[in-house]
């Protein structure tokens, strides 16, 4: 008997009748068969009879014309899926990364810019790491050096804020570097991917001059918000408007479908920053969320780390039994930065005793840094600096808009 391959025509008996369909795959010892009605069913694989080979499929894809008169942008993909294609014969959904494929799925992009697509990785965003950040930083730098008007980075949403903030520190640039993703998969007609991508392209050719994340502002397809990479956080597991600016208003908005863009007054403008590239990062850094009653000996596992960011309670506290162990860590050469698990607001270790003890032990107050941003920043600073005073000074100074000098009311 012929072996069933994906796409093979097969016959199987259900009840007292024969059914024909297309073999899709094997799943836990069971064949998944697509019937002529379009429905899949699972069936005992031994009961399948292969009746024909997989029919050839041709791909008559529409040619995509790019307008040479439009500014050039780069689309750099890391594995986040903005465009995908469904094979209705097998039901398989494949992610699309080439410029042609992306533009075929989102033709509106062609009226905003022309694009050069680069793929630096095809990973799930939770598998992102420093090495890929560095590859990405080089790719972005090279494209900007080549003269593109803006860069769009397509990224899975889970760790997009980490990557965007890492790129902020690594690649100061005169042009917009826009991170974009989708919360609802690109293979569904309701996906936010197309609108987010279109809005990101608008931001990429705009007068903005910093690294940003462009995603839905609300659950409606009405506008995207442009968030500063170092002040943005994924605040919901699944909603379209999961990304929120913390402590500052968004840098601007792109209305949809009019694509009218507005920028706030405090943004870094195109051309303000000079292009440079500093990709070194210290990998031996960690972020630790303190919870009441956590035994201090947990910290022993952090001995030998170059940097540790603690996400403490309230104004930036840990249990007082942690203080001596933290002092040991610091004496052993670990830079410890305190942030708050409140996310909103500023750390202040001068109000209560524990805080004062932490400062005395050498803990660096992380101002209103988001804990994740503090980690990325610490790792980036430690890539070049070792001196405790210099590290402390840089951590408390806003380098990429990551620290707000004033805590603005109403946010």
């Amino acid at each position: 008997m012929m072996r069933a391959l994906s796409g093979s025509r097969v016959r199987c008996r259900v009840g007292d009748q024969d059914l024909e369909g297309v073999y899709i795959t094997e799943r836990e010892g069971r064949a998944v068969v697509k019937l002529s009605s379009g429905y899949n069913i699972g069936i005992d694989i031994a009961r399948l009879e292969v009746i024909g080979p997989s029919p050839e499929t041709v791909l008559p894809l529409a040619r995509i014309e790019q307008d040479p008169d439009l500014p050039e942008c780069s689309i750099i993909s890391t594995g986040g899926t903005i465009a995908s294609r469904i094979d209705y014969r097998t039901g398989a959904v494949t992610s699309q990364f080439s410029a042609e494929d992306i533009l075929r799925a989102i033709p509106e992009l062609t009226s905003i810019a022309r694009y050069n697509a680069i793929q630096v990785s095809t990973i799930l965003s939770e598998n992102m790491n420093i090495a890929i950040w560095q590859r990405l930083a080089h790719a972005i730098h090279d494209e900007i050096e080549r003269g593109v008007r803006g860069v769009i980075v397509m990224h899975g949403t889970d760790t997009m804020a980490f990557t965007a903030s890492a790129i902020s520190f690594m690649v100061p640039a005169p042009v917009p570097i826009v991170f974009v993703g989708a919360q609802r998969s690109a293979d569904r007609p309701s996906s936010d991917s197309a609108m987010n991508a279109i809005c990101s392209a608008v931001a990429a050719v705009s007068g903005l001059g910093e690294v940003s994340v462009v995603m839905h502002d609300t659950t409606s397809d009405d506008r995207c918000a442009i968030h500063r990479a170092t002040r943005v956080r994924k605040m919901h597991t699944s909603r379209r408007d999961a990304f929120q600016s913390i402590g500052i208003p968004p840098l601007g908005y792109v209305e949809y479908p009019s694509l009218k863009m507005t920028l706030s007054s405090g943004v870094v403008r195109r051309g303000e920053r000079a292009l440079s590239l500093q990709t070194e990062m210290e990998p031996r850094c960690a972020l630790l969320l303190f919870a009441p009653g956590m035994p201090p000996d947990i910290l022993e596992g952090y001995h030998g780390m170059k940097g540790l960011v603690i996400s403490g309670t309230g104004l930036g506290h840990v249990g007082s039994d942690w203080v001596p162990v933290i002092r040991e860590l610091i004496d052993g050469g670990t830079h410890v930065v305190m942030t708050s698990q409140c996310l909103h607001g500023r750390v202040c270790d001068r109000v209560y005793d524990t805080g004062r003890d932490l400062l005395a032990a050498g803990v660096i107050e992380g101002e209103d840094l988001l804990p994740e941003v503090a980690l990325v920043k610490l790792s980036w600073i430690l890539g070049r600096e070792e001196g405790p005073e210099e590290v402390s000074r840089l951590m408390q100074q806003s380098l990429r808009g990551e620290i707000c000098r004033r805590s603005i009311h109403g946010l």
Partner: protein, 628 residues
């Protein structure tokens, strides 16, 4: 009509909502809401995904012709799953069990593993842009020899509020879709099978009832015609007429095709801008239109205006296609001059297009882009008239036989797996364990046989919403005739008179039956009590109002009067008069005083006349003062 001769083939697709606690893919209740109760709304666009063959589903493609912004209403009984803001929960097990029960009732074979699919629907009725659906069982039997193809478990779509607005309360309510093979041969057979399937569904006692909870789609074709689906027929009584109407339409369109071919008719490839010709027109629509385009249908004259269904012409079909572009309709020369368009304008139009009387010219008007879209749609549909009948989904117009074009019949290539929902394995022991309920038809027969009900009443009871109440009442000893009469006739009559009896709970009606059975209330008082309860009164208050209990004095007076009126009889019979007189008193005080109380009081009254010993009464009944 000889339906066999014309090769009628029809099939049914029946959609029935299930009465589950929670929705199919989330934990929201399956309740419908008033749109005034919405607590938020949001807006979305949907875009068709392109299949591997680079080919968009043709129904989807048509929806894409105008990019549409949809509005959705959300409630405190809907959640992020309906909003398409959260992945679906696992397939609702209660719904699956009901679907399997139905499958078993039809003698179907369950699939080994149920896979949830996404069926592309981008008309806005699903926030995701697809409907989740799963094939549960295959191949059932129907009386009369036709077969069932399949039963699927699907999520209900959102309720359309207006053109682009949808209410999310209905989205996600589980429903079963039951498809027959195309093996029904007459309009009557289609209707009978629909009725039978409906009866089987209701036999489970776990399907939703009421308007909109069951919808039937009918697939119809005749020899030389095409498969056409008539969507959402809500009333069973309309099914046979709908089939007849579609047969009529297809026959008329085939006749038109034959005539067009014999005339060598053709559709001109170009449409013409004729806006200047109507600069002085009396037609308000044309006058305010920025652009008027003419489509030239050579040798179509007279046929565009020919009736194909009551109130429907070939021209109506052209207009349906044109309306997809957002124009209000079309004008065609078969119906002109009219609507303010003059004879002279028609003549100039014919000269301009060099058209003769045998030709038909169609006018579309509106913004240029819309008008061009509409002109192309008219040309597309007119060309199809030369080929025969297009495969379409159509909708019923009112309660007649006529239908209007809705969209092309969706292609098969529009399903892909719902990867967010795990497949569900169905094992043979699970299938064995599914209990098969008694069919309502069998139940009605049992009521005739065991309870002596009239067959028509038995059927009414068995098919009614109150069947559970009836069974409960009879099993605790309520007379079947009383329960049946109340449930089959009284409630219906009250409802017909506009009294809202649906709000009266089964438990209250059962309590009412108990009152009647115990003699507290006359069965003749049931309609009045129900009426009072429908007005919002409790059972107690309703009875108090309709049949207030008789006071001691009132009863005493009544008994006195009756005894005195029959004094000679009482004197003659003495205590033996008690039995016959009981009947007389009961007839007047009936249902308002306990029989024993009457007996005791009546005995004393008799004794007063005959001078009998009052003390003996204690052996026959309690004294009234002890009883009070």
């Amino acid at each position: 009509m000889d339906y066999e001769a014309i090769g009628l083939k029809a099939g049914l697709e029946i959609h029935q909502q299930l009465d589950t606690e929670e929705k199919l893919f989330c934990h929201c209740p399956t309740v419908l809401r008033d749109i005034k109760e919405r607590n938020s709304e949001f807006h979305r666009f949907l875009r068709a995904t392109v299949s591997e063959l680079g080919e968009m589903d043709r129904a989807a493609e048509e929806e894409m012709m105008a990019q549409r912004r949809f509005t959705y209403y959300a409630y405190d009984t809907t959640c992020l799953v309906e909003d398409d803001e959260e992945p679906p929960a696992p397939l609702n097990n209660e719904a699956l069990e009901i679907a399997l029960t139905i499958a078993k009732l039809f003698g179907m074979t369950p699939v080994e593993e149920v896979h949830t699919m996404r069926k592309l629907v981008i008309d806005g009725s699903n926030t995701t842009g697809f409907q989740r659906t799963a094939l549960v069982a295959l191949h059932g039997r129907l009386p009369g020899g036709c077969r069932l193809d399949s039963i699927c478990l699907e999520e209900e779509a959102a309720q359309r509020v207006d053109d682009r607005t949808f209410s999310l309360d209905r989205l996600g309510i589980p429903l079963v879709e039951i498809s027959t093979a195309p093996c029904l041969r007459t309009p009557e057979e289609v209707q009978e099978v629909a009725e039978y399937i409906g009866m089987v569904l209701r036999s489970t006692g776990r399907v939703k009832r009421g308007i909109g909870t069951i919808r039937q789609d009918i697939n119809i074709s005749i020899r030389g015609g095409a498969r056409v689906e008539i969507k959402g027929v809500q009333e069973l009584d309309l099914i046979a007429d709908a089939v007849k109407g579609e047969v009529k339409r297809q026959l008329a369109l085939l006749a038109i095709k034959d005539e067009l071919l014999s005339r060598r008719a053709a559709v001109m490839e170009e449409f013409r801008d004729v806006t200047p010709l109507f600069s002085e027109t009396g037609s308000k629509i044309l006058k305010k239109a920025p652009c008027i385009l003419a489509v030239f249908l050579q040798e179509f004259g007279g046929l565009v205006g020919r009736e194909i269904q009551p109130g429907r012409r070939l021209g109506s079909e052209l207009a349906d296609y044109a309306k997809k572009c957002g124009v209000g309709g079309i004008f065609h020369t078969d119906e002109l001059p009219a609507y303010g368009i003059s004879e002279g304008e028609i003549s100039r139009l014919r000269v301009e297009l060099r058209a003769s009387e045998g030709d038909c010219i169609v006018l579309v008007a509106g913004e240029r882009e819309r008008a061009e879209c509409a002109a192309r749609q008219v040309m597309k549909r007119a060309k199809l008239a030369l080929v025969g009948i297009p495969e379409e989904t159509r909708r019923m117009l009112g309660e007649g036989e006529s239908t209007a074009y809705l969209r092309p019949l969706p292609g098969a290539a529009r399903m892909y797996p719902e990867t967010d929902v795990f497949p569900v394995r169905l094992t043979p022991p699970e299938w064995e364990a599914i209990e098969v309920p008694e069919l309502l038809s069998v139940r009605a027969e049992r009521f005739v046989r065991d309870l002596g009900l009239d067959p028509a009443v038995a059927r009414q009871i068995a098919y009614s919403d109150r069947i559970g109440l009836f069974e409960a009442a009879v099993s605790e000893g309520i007379r079947p005739s009383v329960a049946a009469r109340t449930l089959a006739s009284t409630l219906r009559e009250l409802k017909r008179d506009g009294i809202k009896v649906d709000g009266i709970g089964d438990r209250e009606i059962l309590e009412l039956f108990r009152m009647v059975e115990s003699g507290r209330l006359a069965k003749e008082a049931i309609p009045s009590v129900l009426k009072s309860m429908a007005g919002g009164k409790s059972l107690e208050d309703a009875i108090q109002e309709v049949a207030p209990p008789m006071t001691e004095e009132g009863l005493e007076a009544l008994i006195d009067r009756i005894v005195r009126e029959r004094e000679s009889f009482v004197r003659e019979r003495g205590r033996r008069a008690l039995g016959p007189l009981m009947g007389v008193v009961m007839a007047e005080a009936r249902g308002r005083v306990d029989g024993k109380v009457i007996a005791s009081m009546l005995g004393r009254a008799i004794d007063r006349i005959t001078g009998g010993d009052e003390r003996r009464l204690n052996t026959e009944g309690k004294r009234i003062d002890e009883n009070a």
